[in-house]
Symmetry: C2
Subunit: 405 residues, 2 copies
């Protein structure tokens, strides 16, 4: 029969820069407990469990696990599968065969929902299984948590990208638009605001999914910044939606497909391209550039928050402690004390599984197109040490000389 | 009249991560020479000269200049202006008014051409002006140079991006396409190959402007990698062109504009979106993702090669020495000794102004869709110290258990 001291770990959803820290945290913390019989890893999430694609994490050296922890993306591979009851039965068949009694799943809200489904099915099936969800998502949209592992590093990437983009735009002035991930929550897009050191630094505008987006308002605000600064840097969430809640990207795709008689299906860069084109056509600006940050922001190698690394590691360690010392299933949640310490709690899966947390009102400027200082104070300690420092010339002007002729 | 000890510095073309190192190198090296009367900076390149938008770099502290040097993009601003004879007359009018006798222009091949034009016009005009071009371009396409400041840092960004993208793609398998800058020279796209640590690591394919690109060949090669590895990571230069030399991006734009009756003008992400869409439609793959690295690769804050920083600084320092101790105009060029040291020479402007260097044949694999080890050996010392290390699990497999029922 199953034994809580026989552990299985898997990873689900989109990779992050620190998801392997949680994996290493689980594998190494388990070694400190007496009587741990096995720490297995399943490849590609729940699918790997069904297929018994298991590896023995107990045979990895601590040094190797620590190096894997420093490596972005998911070392065990990932999946987007969401198990139904039949899928759960197949999971239990594998777990039973290997006597697994503890199941750790590192992932976001969908993965938390998977853990909830497996947990409930195990109880219904009378299969003794300790189920623990370990948080991870660059979207930062898990309920209960102050923030989630993976978000600080992605936020750091976005902030550093906008630091550079702001200076690039200052060197060759015009409009720059950077489209950032996060379909439903604006946290990651809002991180762009950390690039602002001086009042005239970009991003000058930050558009979030939490506030309705209109092209007219966009034109007006860009124009105001162009008149004020001679340039404008804009951070846009890929999830911006109109007043009816329809994502701009969706309506855009339908519109352009129709224009092109079904021949044109827009891809990853469509929203940035649409916004830059619209600005050129409507306001007549010549230099309008757009980037879509895409996959770089979630798995770029070498742009990691050390605070994020540490917390992701501790989330894994705490998962093992709660699982082996406790008597219930749940999710590791991160909580903030002061400015700044992180604490870990064990929260019922129902409180966050499949739910989405949004940017609170206090983090969004009244204009609806920027963030507040409260957000900056919230994010700053998470970005970690060694953020680059952007220095300008002091610019002592030389008096102009009038020409005789 | 003008005095060679009255110096003016400006920056032209696209920003890089280290162009301010060259600026600081010039400003600080000039302080070591006796009798230097002025070190001015002009805002936004040659345009700032015409407009007398000058600042006194002599009043910046060494500490501030060293911090500006660490900051990406062009601290003095940039321009794409190319001066004609009338423009040169306006330049000389400004220079004469301020008694400037040394002109330093930090930029790529277009900027080198600007220096050549100004140099020739000054001679024709009998205006005594020492003109020095200081190299800078992420495209690495300046003749004579072994490589150019800015390229190593951009190459490092591209390599780190593909390290992460490769692991992201391994976690959630499919096809990943990353489109990299460089319209005429493939050096920066080729840098993606530095992400490969093991034989099955991506990028599995690298498409350069130096070799003809065909969609059919692309399909065949992607399919072969999908069959072999179950996934495929592709680096594509924005400048890939067909056998007739027509850039794919151009023909693509014309085609889609026609499809859409002139309503759709494709933007920055068009090539990546076209390639991902084509693969989905032709080969039926479900998970095909594309990113366009865009402006991030040239001005991302915090991803810099220390070798690049040092050499960009030295390029500026050497410019001052050649200008003040020599008797001719020219361009600072970088030359390689052994594995690895960099030396600086002073080369006639005609040898590189307005010309483009391409990837040599020895750097391109026979297949035409990857790089050679000679290229890897060439690039490796330029990337600098502290490149991230990608560690996998050793993956000791657990034997599968066959189920009774």
């Amino acid at each position: 029969m199953s034994d809580v001291r026989r552990i299985l770990v898997a990873q689900g959803g989109g990779p992050t820069a620190v998801i392997n820290q949680s994996l290493a945290g689980i594998a190494l913390e388990a070694r400190k407990f007496a009587g741990i019989e096995a720490v297995y890893g399943a490849f590609h999430g729940v699918r790997g469990i069904v297929n018994q694609d298991f590896v023995d994490l107990g045979q990895e050296t601590a040094d190797d696990l620590n190096r894997v922890a420093q490596t972005p993306a998911a070392a065990l591979g990932s999946t987007r599968d969401k198990p139904d009851l039949k899928y759960c039965q197949e999971i239990f068949r594998s777990l039973r065969a290997h006597g697994i009694g503890s199941f750790f799943y590192i992932g976001g809200n969908d993965s938390a929902d998977t853990v909830r489904i497996v947990s409930e099915a195990a109880r219904a099936d009378n299969y003794p299984l300790r189920c623990v969800h370990v948080p991870k998502t660059i979207d930062n949209d898990l309920m209960v948590n102050d923030h989630t592992p993976g978000f600080p590093s992605a936020a750091r990437f976005v902030a550093q990208a906008f630091m550079g983009a702001n200076l690039d735009n200052a060197a060759l002035p015009g409009v720059y638009i950077g489209v950032v991930m996060g379909r439903h929550a604006g946290f990651l897009t809002a991180a762009a605001a950390m690039a602002q050191a001086r009042p005239d630094d970009g991003p000058h505008l930050v558009y979030l999914p939490e506030r309705p987006f209109s092209l007219e308002g966009f034109y007006t605000e860009v124009k105001a910044n162009m008149e004020r600064y001679g340039r404008c840097v804009v951070a846009v969430s890929e999830g911006i939606a109109d007043a009816q809640g329809v994502p701009v990207a969706n309506s855009l795709m339908a519109k352009v497909e129709k224009d092109a008689h079904g021949n044109v299906e827009l891809g990853g860069g469509a929203l940035a391209d649409f916004l830059t084109r619209s600005l050129k056509q409507s306001l007549g600006y010549k230099r309008v550039r757009g980037d879509t940050f895409g996959y770089l922001q979630r798995s770029f190698a070498g742009c990691v928050s050390d605070v994020d690394q540490r917390e992701a590691r501790e989330a894994g360690e705490n998962a093992v402690r709660f699982a082996l010392k406790g008597d219930r299933d749940g999710s590791i949640t991160i909580h903030r004390t002061g400015d700044y310490a992180a604490g870990f709690q064990f929260t019922a899966l129902e409180e966050l599984a499949g739910k989405t947390r949004h940017m609170p009102d206090e983090f969004i400027a009244e204009s609806g197109s920027h963030v507040t200082d409260a957000f900056r104070r919230y994010l700053k300690p998470l970005l970690g040490s060694g953020m680059p420092d952007m220095q300008r010339l002091h610019s002592h002007p030389i008096a102009k000389i009038s020409f005789e002729n």
